[in-house]
């Protein structure tokens, strides 16, 4: 599904990401962990063609991401508020994205209805531009928008950060429910508990290099905690 081949990204002498070979198959929920500067966002940005690696190729469904735009049709992502059209209302924003995915408006309504708990009446039907929403509500808007159109690849950077506890718990359920054999989900987080709970596989990055690549077991959380204590 997704494959990183000899990817190297450096800024001057600093190595931001250096991955020889990494393959992520459909059906997996992959958690990406690592301290600040480990290369999590860099990896996601390369997968979304936002930055250009110095060498190597990233593939999605066998096609190089940097030269084919095919991945856009089945990839949903939210990394930062730069993914929001801040001058639209949330409803207009959802509608526009659904149009880009050729989603009918009744499909959109059905889709959004399942997030009513998450939205807490503060997002849909609100007469506010996205720029005037709180940071938390902006994030909710962005994450839900990333899920519009049945994407097969979902990339979420730090989805739990800055959300209230209730939303964090609901979001975990949402991610677990999304899991299906034809979907690839990538989630990065600093919250080890959350990320191990939702993931099947954990990739630990440090200074741009994959240090651990674990299939989740009962022991994974402890292993991660002890790793980050020593470091």
């Amino acid at each position: 599904m997704i494959r990183l081949e000899n990817i190297k990204k450096t800024y001057g002498l600093k190595v931001a990401l250096d991955v020889a070979d990494l393959e992520i198959n459909a059906g997996q929920v992959v958690g990406l962990v690592g301290n600040n500067g480990a290369g999590k966002t860099t990896m996601f940005s390369i997968l979304l063609d936002l930055i250009n690696p110095n060498s190597g190729v990233a593939y999605s469904q066998g096609l190089p991401i940097a030269s084919s735009e095919h991945w856009k049709s089945y990839t949903g992502s939210y990394i930062s508020e730069n993914f929001l059209l801040e001058f639209l209302t949330p409803d207009e924003y959802f509608k526009f994205i659904s149009e880009l995915h050729h989603f009918s408006s009744s499909d959109l309504t059905n889709f959004l209805n399942q997030f009513d708990d998450l939205f807490n009446n503060e997002i849909r039907g609100v007469k506010k531009y996205i720029r005037d929403l709180s940071k938390g509500n902006q994030k909710k808007t962005g994450i839900v928008a990333a899920l519009i159109g049945e994407p097969e690849v979902i990339i979420l950077d730090e989805p739990f950060a800055n959300l209230d506890p209730t939303t964090q718990i609901r979001l975990k359920t949402t991610i677990k429910n999304l899991k299906s054999p034809d979907k690839t989900i990538l989630v990065s987080s600093h919250d080890l508990t959350h990320v191990t709970e939702v993931s099947d596989r954990i990739i630990l990055l440090e200074n741009g290099v994959v240090i651990k690549d674990l299939v989740k077991t009962e022991e994974t959380l402890k292993e991660l905690e002890s790793y980050f204590q020593v470091i």
Binding site: L48, D49, L50, I51, N52, E69, K72, S73, T75, S77, I79, S80, E81, N82, F83, L84, L85, E86, F87, L88, T89, E92, F96, I97, E99, L100, H101, K127, K128, Y129, R131, D132, L133, G149
Partner: protein, 488 residues
């Protein structure tokens, strides 16, 4: 403390991501500034002589004072359009151990260091030495100088106030500017001459104890501006509060029938309409439509002026908005890269937006038909030329313009307002059609020259697909550079 803040601001300016890019513009601006200053200097030294020749038998200093009042009126317009005023982009300092009063004074002090305050001094000081000292005697001459400088500072702070008010009460600003324009027009037409009425008053000012009046005025406007800045030294000052009604634009739904290109055009139209800065740019384009009137009625029979004005009239929006073509999307650039919107369609809608604006403004300029049909003919030519050639220049060159803009911050006009550089960039573009037209004109084939401009434009429009495909090849790589600078 003021000095430290100034130093930090300079570092911020020097280390801005687009510093290198704006270098060329800065150099051109520098040349212009030097040219203007030298012209002013020459005017200052020869002013007395010119006035004597033009108005024999009249008091030179009184005449000068009359023109000075007229200049002050014009100056407010020029400053409003071009002077960049400092703003509270100082939110980062608010929690530090710096008094808010210091910050406010810092902003006011900073506004004094402006070209627009320096320029008039280059006229006034030489005139002071050549004419005033001799004519009035040194003590009275000193008062004259103080009065003149005081008026310049009053203009500076008045424009600062206008600039701040433009965001909150645009109507007031409109009224002030309209009044000034009216006075200038009446003066120009010789119907009512403010300068001849006010000159005796100015003469009285430095001739008596009344010289304190302008100084008191300056103090008052400084103080009220200081209070205004102080009371707005909060993070949420200027924030809309979010209770604004949503501005809907009806009549754009038809665009949805034109695929992704149409859909993005609709979204970008909403961007333009819902953000203050872009809306200001739009309104400014309407000013471009009527401003040739400011040049009297003499330009109708000058084909060169018709071309320049034609280019500006129909291309006003393109020339303004196009300069920041991709910066308008700097706050949501990642959306454009990652969403299911092909780069091809994105660039195409950008092209259609700026090229199509020429058509819109051409239609709006049709009433000129009643004035002089030749204007409309030249406008038609320039519409084709703009859409078929200049539009691509913007598409191409703005890929290198990675200036990040915040559309949603409160004081938009202040923070990243239009500076003189904005107009300087237009100069090479305005020169472009002349490269083609002038050779034909010199050979005596004026209409053939116009035809060539039109044909070139039509060619550009016909081959838009091929040209945009080439642009995509470059944009594919430029987008990393843009993303990098927009997310800094």
């Amino acid at each position: 403390m003021l000095w430290k803040l100034l130093k930090l601001e300079w570092l911020g300016f020097r280390r801005a991501p687009h510093w290198g890019q704006s270098m060329a513009v800065n150099v051109i601006m520098g040349f212009f500034a030097v040219y203007m200053l030298l012209t002013a200097l020459a005017l200052g030294f020869t002013g007395g002589y010119i006035l004597e020749e033009t108005f024999p038998g009249e008091n030179v200093i009184h005449k000068f004072n009359g023109f000075f009042v007229y200049y002050l009126l014009m100056d407010i317009w020029v400053r409003f359009l071009m002077q960049k005023f400092p703003s509270f982009s100082l939110s980062k300092y608010l929690t530090l151990n710096i008094k808010k009063s210091t910050l406010s004074r810092f902003l006011l002090t900073k506004s004094i260091f402006s070209f627009f305050n320096l320029l008039p001094l280059f006229v006034i000081v030489p005139f002071f030495f050549t004419n005033v000292v001799g004519g009035l005697g040194s003590s009275k001459a000193m008062l004259w100088l103080v009065t003149m400088v005081t008026f310049i500072f009053i203009n500076n702070f008045l424009s600062f106030w206008l600039d701040r008010t433009a965001n909150k009460q645009p109507l007031i600003v409109f009224l002030v500017l309209a009044t000034i324009s009216g006075l200038i027009y009446l003066e120009y037409k010789g119907i009512f001459s403010l300068s001849s009425y006010s000159a005796p008053i100015v003469n009285k000012l430095y001739g008596s104890i009344f010289f304190v009046l302008p100084i008191a005025g300056l103090a008052a406007i400084y103080y009220s501006l200081y209070k205004n800045l102080l009371s707005n030294a909060y993070l949420d000052a200027g924030a809309s509060g979010g209770n604004d009604s949503i501005s809907e634009i009806d009549g754009l739904d038809f665009l949805d029938n034109y695929g992704e290109v149409g859909k993005w055009l609709r979204i970008e139209s909403m961007l333009i309409w819902r953000n203050k800065k872009s809306r200001n740019y739009l309104f400014m384009s309407f000013i471009f439509l009527v401003y040739p009137f400011a040049f009297g009625m003499d330009w109708f029979d000058n084909i060169y002026l018709l071309i320049v004005f034609g280019l500006l009239m129909v291309g006003g929006f393109m020339l303004n908005y196009g300069q920041l073509l991709f910066s308008w999307n700097s706050t949501h650039f990642d959306f454009i890269i990652t969403q299911n919107l092909s780069l091809n369609n994105f660039l195409r809608s950008k092209y259609i937006l700026i090229a199509g604006s020429n058509l819109l403004f051409f239609v709006l300029s049709l009433p000129y038909l009643f004035l002089e049909p030749r204007i409309v003919l030249v406008n038609l030519v320039m519409m084709l030329f703009n859409a078929g050639t200049i539009a691509y220049f913007y598409l191409w060159f703005t890929m290198n313009n990675s200036k990040k803009m915040s559309l949603s911050k409160g004081n938009i006009f202040n923070q990243e307002g239009i500076s003189a550089a904005h107009y300087v960039i237009m100069i090479p573009i305005v020169a472009l059609p002349f490269l083609i037209f002038v050779p034909f004109k010199l050979m005596g084939h004026e209409y053939l020259g116009l035809l060539m401009l039109a044909l070139l434009g039509i060619l550009g429009i016909v081959f838009h697909k091929q040209i945009i495909d080439r642009a995509i090849e470059i944009f594919k790589y430029k987008k990393y550079f843009l993303h990098n600078n927009f997310t800094k």
